[in-house]
């Protein structure tokens, strides 16, 4: 297995006079046997970066190193990588067996060895022997992606690359394939780089997550570290579903205590005492505009709070209540800001009902509204 290093990697689709930068000089070290997930919105440069690692896209400047060896001018076939694509990319005129054996045949493996590898990989992935004779078009989406996975595994490459492999699958197949890939990583102990725009996939699968936006790396860390300590409003809003709530306001000192006051022309603007810890952290931001970030699960309904839960609170109006089965998403409006709260599954709310909210400000985040950076 191998580490992958990106050094000042740039992809310019324009020219020197009119640059069109898809990737803007990123640096990253993906450790040996690590499961790294690249996540970000469409057009953030994650797939382009993956394609540059694969050798499918020319590198405008910078370097890609696999196991410390510079790969810029090495052909894709000689990088010892395997890639799984969003649309499976199975050869439609070849049987499942031939699809899986194709790369081995090109590398002149002995026929018996090819057969043994294909059969054992198929067994691992639950591909039946009867299916090996079939053409890809006769398989379901999930089965096809399983074959695409098998085609990658059968070669035992140094690095696995996944380009949004679950995006074409239905919700059920996606969940089972997600687990399948995670198990595969545990079993193969291979370096895997996984591109997705789905933050749920990123959170559940990655050992580390690399959040990208507009061709740059915004934050690289373990999933929970990114969730709990986002470096800016982009990461805070992108990771987590439903996303983090942002409330513009300022921190005032009232009766000696630091209090967050929402920017809201109504009389009943949200006002929360932010506690000693946050008060110290935001000391330099007194009476200056800030953005409060609070996750939906850190907002509570006053009526259902226990004594141990936070006590400060204000009212907001219910716009929509979405019962999800295991929980209820409550879409609220303070008059100046929309909010989403995650409530218990059996909580029921009426539209336009006023809910007395409490927020766990110990878990709140503050951001600079100009730069978007965490305070």
């Amino acid at each position: 297995m191998a580490s992958v290093t990106l050094q000042n990697l740039v992809k310019n689709y324009g020219d020197a006079k009119r640059p069109l930068l898809a990737v803007k000089g990123i640096n990253l070290e993906i450790r040996d046997r690590e499961f790294m997930v690249f996540v970000g919105p469409s057009g953030c440069g994650k797939s382009t970066t993956l394609r540059m690692i694969a050798g499918l896209e020319d590198i405008s400047s910078g370097h890609v190193l696999i196991e410390g060896r510079k790969m810029n001018d090495v052909l894709p076939k000689d990088r010892d990588i395997a890639m799984v694509f969003q649309n499976y990319a199975l050869y439609p005129h070849m049987s499942v067996y031939d699809n899986m054996a194709f790369a081995l045949k090109l590398r002149h493996f002995p026929a018996a060895d090819i057969r043994q590898r294909v059969l054992s990989t198929a067994a691992t992935l639950g591909i039946e022997e009867e299916q090996l004779k079939r053409l890809p078009r006769t398989l379901s989406g999930g089965q096809r992606q399983r074959v695409a996975l098998g085609r990658a595994i059968v070669r035992s490459p140094k690095v696995f690359l996944f380009d949004e492999p679950l995006s074409n699958l239905d919700a059920k197949a996606r969940v089972s394939m997600r687990a399948e890939i995670a198990k595969l990583h545990d079993r193969l102990q291979a370096t895997m780089i996984y591109v997705t725009h789905d933050q749920v996939e990123a959170m559940t699968m990655g050992e580390r997550i690399c959040v990208m936006n507009e061709g740059e790396i915004v934050q690289v860390d373990e999933p929970m570290a990114i969730y709990n300590h986002p470096v800016n409003m982009f990461v805070a809003g992108f990771i987590g579903s439903p996303p983090m709530n942002f409330i513009h306001g300022h921190i005032a000192t009232v009766e000696g205590r630091a209090r967050f006051v929402e920017d809201n022309e109504d009389m009943d603007a949200l006002r929360f005492d932010i506690g000693e810890r946050l008060s110290l952290r935001t000391e330099a931001w007194r009476d200056r505009p800030v953005v409060l970030g609070i996750r939906p699960e850190d907002i509570y309904d006053h009526r259902r709070c226990t004594a141990s839960q936070p006590s400060s609170g204000q009212y907001a109006r219910v716009e929509i209540s979405e019962p999800m089965g295991s929980e209820t998403y409550l879409y609220l409006n303070t008059g100046a800001h929309p909010l989403v709260a995650r409530m218990a599954s059996n909580d029921r709310y009426q539209t336009n009902e006023q809910v007395h909210l409490r927020m766990d400000l110990a878990k709140a985040h503050f951001f600079d509204p100009e730069s978007g950076l965490a305070i």
């Binding site: 076939k77 395997a82 890639m83 990319a89 005129h93």
Partner: protein, 289 residues
């Protein structure tokens, strides 16, 4: 409208459709029927009867007047077997060479990013609108300078870069060859040429079949170019050999029609063999697959 009269209207419309189709079939097939009958007629009956010679035989036809002489004469008095071989060689080579080069050209224009690609595509499109007869004189001059007159090379060389084929294959590649398949093949270990043969060509197989048939037919029926470029009668294809039966003073119509019938037989066989590919090739990309 009552249901009964509605079904009557539908039946009438259906009947009208069939009548029109029957008429179209008649218009299309009558010349073939005429050709078939003419090939078996003696020269004295050729103009005496439009179709089968009338007489006292079954269905009012003088069957005894029909003969196979025209067929035996084209093989004994003419070097027709040699002409057939020439045609087979020319049409097959032209079809194969033209299909391979057109597919390669179309693939390059559809799937490779390179400087000048749009310019080359512009030239291909411009070449499509130049009428072929306009190119005869400059083509002849070029072949003269290349010392390719009176040689098969002179007929095969112009077929190497068919603008129509390149355009056709470019469109087929755009629709039928996903980029991810090429990427996957490259990662699996395919070189560019191998990728073309093993992945790309099978994906556009219907278009390959259709284009092979189109170019084979075009070359088989090509008269004007071999007539101008070839001088040696031993090298004549069927089309030129058949035309030589008709001079200013004499025309062997029986032999011409028998020869024509023999010459279209391989085409009919080829069409029956490739018709599935031909039809799906012509309609490929018409709907989302």
């Amino acid at each position: 409208m009552k249901p009964r009269s509605k079904s009557l209207t539908l039946n009438l419309a259906k009947a009208l459709n069939y009548a029109l189709l029957l008429l179209a079939c008649l218009v299309t097939l009558t010349p073939f029927y005429w050709l078939l009958v003419a090939a078996f007629k003696k020269s004295e009956d050729f103009f005496a009867h439009t179709f089968l010679p009338k007489g006292d035989g079954f269905l009012g036809v003088a069957w005894y007047k029909l003969t196979l002489d025209n067929f035996s004469r084209i093989f004994t008095e003419l070097d027709f077997a040699n002409n057939i071989l020439n045609s087979v060689f020319l049409a097959s080579s032209t079809a194969v060479i033209s299909t391979i080069t057109a597919a390669m050209g179309g693939y390059a224009l559809a799937k490779y990013e390179f400087r000048g690609r749009d310019f080359i595509m512009g030239i291909v499109l411009a070449a499509l609108i130049i009428p072929a007869p306009l190119l005869l004189a400059p083509g002849y001059q070029l072949l003269y300078h290349l010392h390719l007159l009176d040689s098969y090379g002179g007929l095969l060389l112009p077929a190497v870069a068919p603008a129509f084929g390149v355009f056709l294959f470019r469109q087929a590649m755009l629709n039928s060859v996903p980029q991810s398949l090429l990427d996957s093949a490259r990662i699996d270990g395919c070189g560019e040429l191998h990728c073309f043969w093993v992945i790309v060509l099978p994906l556009v197989r219907p278009m390959v079949g259709a284009y092979l048939l189109i170019t084979f037919l075009g070359s088989w029926n090509n008269f004007i170019q071999p007539q101008i470029i070839l001088q040696d009668a031993d090298k004549f294809p069927l089309s030129v050999a058949l035309a030589s039966l008709q001079t200013a003073y004499r025309a062997e119509y029986g032999m011409i029609t028998a020869g024509t019938l023999v010459s279209i037989a391989p085409l009919a066989a080829l069409f029956l063999l490739l018709q599935k590919e031909f039809i799906s090739g012509l309609t490929s990309g018409a709907v989302k697959g």
